[in-house]
């Protein structure tokens, strides 16, 4: 019997078998959102009418015998950073309150084409800047494992929607870990594909050279199914890769790692990592060994500069990307009293419309790009980027994939780090090198930390354009762990009672 706790793959089977309709499935999820989202606050906008209309259309197509894609009729939660025609798209910012894009992002076009039902838009740190969703102008999302804790960020809304069974599938975007860290702290699966694998057209840019949309779900196979829907070359995005999409679904189904070399990155463990995180990570590595993989230790000496370089490149690009929010053409407008000049209105609007973290990064980036500082900051950071790519090349010469804990700790308390940006930034220490090098990585759950009973994420990194490798290892590890535990991790999540 299919219900909201099923996987997307199971829902897909049930839909094809005719044991449930997309409208029924969509209503189940809308009911769950209605029931629990006042506590979780995963959604900024629930698009009930459009979702049901889409579901009806898929049901009609199925009835008429039309050949449908695997995920047709399965509901999905969309991070509010992707443009969807006619549907509010805020990026978690006051700046875009009420803005309805006149166009679909490529990701949304592909989802619609595949008949995936879009339930609504999920909460996020403003303009994807943050690791806790506390920077959302619309209030934070709560971690369904413990409502007093953060769901990760920036894509905390998407991850929390999965963990609270509000949706079986979600789209996230990952600039420095915004898919993987929320996945880790909510016990869900999140994938950042190789840079360029999924079109960025319609993804409101934070840092263009780092941003990448990707699939989120509760199982590796579900993320793979979604990956194949959204990935592929797009001529609307010049940085899109013009090559066939790796066979990630087939890879996720292999459940075999015999002979694969797994590289444990020396620099991404040890000091600063929570004990229970390391324990569960090491157990997962053991599980891979037992499944027939070979473990090698690799060293990436330049990773220690990754965080610093990231906090020059990402804010630099952001300072330019966010310049367009000036109240002239769309979004918030403040102080337009008929007397104020355009420049004054721009100033007032940007002062009101952006939150503290966004302003912090705009200021950082503006400074780093200033004449006289460019070489020392932006220029040096780009050199670090080259060094990180070389570190990965050397490591991938020794191993097929690399692994690490996704984050140093489990979910921290809401409010714990809001006044300490550097502590907040350190959350992404293990995820950031991946974006800087443009490779792909996945986070999947590897257990609950004994000391706090919260989920721990296991990160698998694969070489650029070889996303299938991380799916192969992830699928096999997931199967081994579920076999060991005798259940899925999420079966232990506290049940949220409706109001």
């Amino acid at each position: 019997m299919t219900n909201i706790h099923s996987t997307a793959a199971q829902m897909s089977d049930a839909l094809s078998a005719g044991s449930i309709t997309s409208v029924e499935l969509t209503e189940q999820h809308l009911d769950q959102i209605h029931k629990v989202d006042s506590q979780v606050h995963a959604f900024l906008h629930v698009d009930r009418e459009n979702a049901l209309a889409q579901a009806r259309e898929v049901d009609a197509q199925r009835k008429s015998g039309q050949k449908l894609s695997l995920l047709a009729g399965v509901p999905l939660a969309l991070k509010d950073v992707l443009a969807q025609k006619g549907v509010p798209t805020t990026c978690g910012s006051k700046m875009l309150e009420g803005w309805r894009p006149p166009y679909d992002s490529t990701v949304v076009s592909k989802l619609k084409e595949a008949g995936v039902v879009i339930l609504g838009k999920t909460n996020m740190d403003e303009f994807a800047m943050g690791s806790s969703t506390e920077n959302s102008a619309y209030g934070p999302t709560h971690n369904p494992w413990d409502l007093t804790r953060i769901p990760g960020g920036s894509g905390g809304g998407s991850a929390a929607a999965l963990a609270s069974f509000e949706a079986p599938l979600a789209i996230g975007t990952d600039t420095g870990g915004s898919i993987r860290q929320p996945g880790a702290v909510t016990g869900t699966v999140g994938v950042k594909p190789t840079y360029g694998a999924v079109s960025r057209y319609g993804l409101v840019a934070f840092s263009s050279s780092l941003d990448q949309a990707g699939p989120c779900a509760r199982t590796v196979l579900d993320t793979a199914l979604l990956h194949e829907v959204i990935a592929g070359y797009d001529q609307m995005d010049s940085t899109s890769i013009n090559a066939p999409v790796p066979q990630v679904v087939a890879a996720a189904k292999k459940l075999d790692v015999k002979g694969l070399k797994i590289g444990v990155v020396k620099e991404l463990s040890g000091e600063g990592y929570q004990e229970g995180v390391l324990q569960r990570f090491n157990e997962a590595v053991d599980a891979l060994v037992q499944a027939g993989a070979e473990i090698v230790e690799v060293s990436c000496p330049n990773f220690e500069y990754a965080l610093a370089a990231y906090y020059l490149i990402a804010p630099s690009e952001a300072s330019s990307n966010l310049a367009r929010f000036d109240s002239m053409r769309y979004g918030l407008r403040v102080g337009d009293d008929g007397k104020a000049s355009a420049e004054e209105v721009m100033n007032l609007t940007r002062h009101e419309g952006f939150g503290a973290e966004v302003k912090r990064r705009i200021i950082l980036g503006t400074y780093a790009l200033s004449s006289g500082y460019y070489d020392a900051y932006y220029g040096s950071a780009q050199k670090v980027r080259t060094l990180l790519i070389r570190d990965y090349q050397a490591a991938f010469a020794k191993a097929d994939v690399l692994v690490s804990p996704t984050c140093p700790t489990t979910a921290f308390k809401l409010g714990e780090n809001v006044d300490n940006p550097v502590a907040m930034y350190l959350n992404d220490i293990a995820t950031i090198p991946v974006n800087m090098a443009g490779i792909g990585a996945m986070s999947l759950p590897c257990g609950l930390a004994p000391e706090d009973g919260l989920p721990v994420g296991f990160q698998i990194m694969s070489p650029a354009m070889k996303d299938d490798l991380m799916y192969q290892v992830g699928g096999a590890l997931e199967a081994a762990l579920i076999n060991k535990w005798g259940k899925t991790l999420l079966s232990d999540i506290p049940v949220l009672e409706g109001k």
Binding site: T239, S319, D326, S341, S371
Partner: protein
């Protein structure tokens, strides 16, 4: 006392620098598919990309790159094997993204030159203008400031924005500093812009209409004491919008700057605006504190790496250089220098060439365009080429050559064609404008003329040949000008025994 131009250029030596912006005539914009037609309803040629909507991404117009490479090759530039776009960051309401996608330290064409010819006291002399770079960028939108006295943003009641122009491909052609032009600096500037315009036109890459703004020139000028070898502080005169204005702007700035220097004032590095009526300039914004545009490589676009073989193919497609063509045509048509200058100044070279290609004799083609057609165009204050086509003029000339039209009749035909009475043939038909070549009809008219003035006829008979003029005039009059005067004379004299 104030210095005159002649005095100024004895004491001071001008150094020029010219920046020319050219709108390419590609069908679509630089980074999106929007149309580029001039004069469309405001904001009808826009899309999410050229409006800089959140999430939209640019894609380079391949035709624009091709055009820019052609320009570079025609200007003897090196084509960079690797060039990049960069973002020029500054806020202005008519710039949708608040950055302009341009090129900075890695332009597509570098190090070229353009040879021009100037009239000196020693006759025509060649002068080489060296080109620093040719790069691509996108145009901004247009602001219309309503209210206020100056039409500038300052003091306006409100401003209207038209983004049709935003994203139109622009090519900027920047010279190196041009020393050594001395008193000929105004002429060098004009000759350079003229030659550049002719080259761009021959390449077919731009409409090069200065009055419509598809070609705009900024004139940089500085003065230094003659012979000092020093380089003075420069002013930058913006948007000089005709060839004549280029010359006047240089003269105006030489006079203004020299008189400032004479009174011990310093030159302020600033932008100035050319005033069409007075030929003077007024100050714009000061550039004393250099604006910081925070350039950095555009992360949304990939580098431009043109294939070497493609560049060679383009080089092979370069048309004949306009200066070479002028020399060739002058020789082929044996045109005196003075008349050649008239043709060039009146911009009639192309149409005369076309008329000759259609079978007209060169001397006649020139004289009809420079004479009758230009006269009619002047009366109407339009360009000669807008009045009538080369084909019509060629048709008329061919008929003159075959004796079917007299000059007088030809003028009537041209008038008829301009009045919209149809083609030359149709006008001749409708108005009955044909030379009377029938000897019988002419003889009749001659006999009537003799009968009307027997005394005059007698004088001719007795050898007073000049007296025949009056009789010829009478015949011409009675035939409505449709007789060939030479033929009338021949027949008349024969009739009176003088043949």
């Amino acid at each position: 006392m104030t210095l005159t131009y002649d005095q100024a250029v004895i004491k001071y030596e001008p150094t020029l620098g010219l920046e020319v912006h050219v709108e390419l005539n590609t069908k679509s914009k630089m980074f999106c598919g929007c149309a580029t037609e001039f004069g469309a309803e405001p904001n009808t040629q826009t899309c999410p990309i050229c409006l800089g909507l959140p999430g939209a991404l640019p894609v380079v117009n391949g035709r624009a790159i091709e055009s820019t490479i052609l320009i570079g090759l025609a200007l003897n530039c090196q084509i960079a094997p690797f060039s990049r776009f960069a973002r020029k960051n500054y806020f202005y309401p008519d710039m949708p993204k608040n950055f302009q996608t341009s090129q900075y330290d890695e332009p597509i064409c570098v190090n070229g030159y353009l040879d021009v010819e100037i009239d000196t006291d020693e006759g025509k002399m060649p002068f080489r203008v060296e080109i620093e770079r040719v790069h691509m960028e996108e145009d901004t939108g247009k602001s219309l400031h309503v209210g206020g006295e100056t039409g500038r943003i300052h003091g306006a009641d409100y401003s209207l924005l038209d983004y049709n122009r935003a994203g139109i491909p622009l090519v900027e052609i920047v010279t190196k500093i041009i020393p050594g032009a001395k008193k000929y600096a105004p002429q060098v500037a004009r000759a350079y812009v003229t030659e550049l315009r002719d080259i761009l036109r021959s390449l077919g890459v731009s409409d090069v209409k200065m009055e419509q703004g598809s070609m705009r020139c900024d004139v940089n000028l500085s003065l230094a004491i003659a012979g000092s070898g020093a380089l003075g502080t420069r002013s930058e005169t913006k948007n000089v919008n005709s060839l004549r204005s280029v010359e006047r702007a240089v003269i105006g700035e030489i006079i203004r700057q020299s008189n400032r220097l004479e009174t011990g004032e310093r030159i302020i590095q600033e932008t100035r605006h050319f005033l069409e009526e007075s030929g003077l300039t007024r100050p714009g914004r000061s550039k004393e504190q250099a604006e910081d545009y925070r350039y950095f490589p555009e992360p949304d676009l990939v580098p431009v790496v043109p294939d070497a073989a493609w560049i060679e193919t383009l080089r092979g497609q370069l048309p004949e250089r306009p200066s070479a063509r002028r020399k060739r045509l002058q020789t082929e048509w044996s045109v005196p220098d003075k008349e050649m200058d008239s043709l060039l100044n009146a911009e009639l070279l192309d149409v005369v060439e076309e008329t000759i290609a259609l079978g007209a004799e060169p001397a006649r083609a020139r004289s009809w365009w420079l004479g009758e057609v230009s006269r009619l165009a002047n009366e109407r204050e339009v360009a000669p080429t807008s009045l009538i086509t080369a084909a019509s003029i060629a048709e008329v000339i061919v008929l003159i050559e075959s004796g079917e039209l007299t000059d007088k009749l030809a003028r009537q035909v041209i008038e008829g064609v301009i009045a919209g009475e149809g083609s030359a043939k149709e006008v001749i038909e409708k108005r009955g404008l044909k030379v009377i070549s029938d000897d019988g009809a002419l003889t009749k008219a001659i006999e009537s003329a003799i009968a009307a003035s027997p005394d005059t006829a007698e004088r001719v008979r007795s050898g007073n040949i000049p007296a025949a003029g009056a009789l010829i005039g009478a015949v011409m009059k009675s035939t409505g000008g449709q007789a060939d005067a030479a033929k009338v004379r021949e027949l008349l004299l024969k009739h009176l025994g003088q043949g």
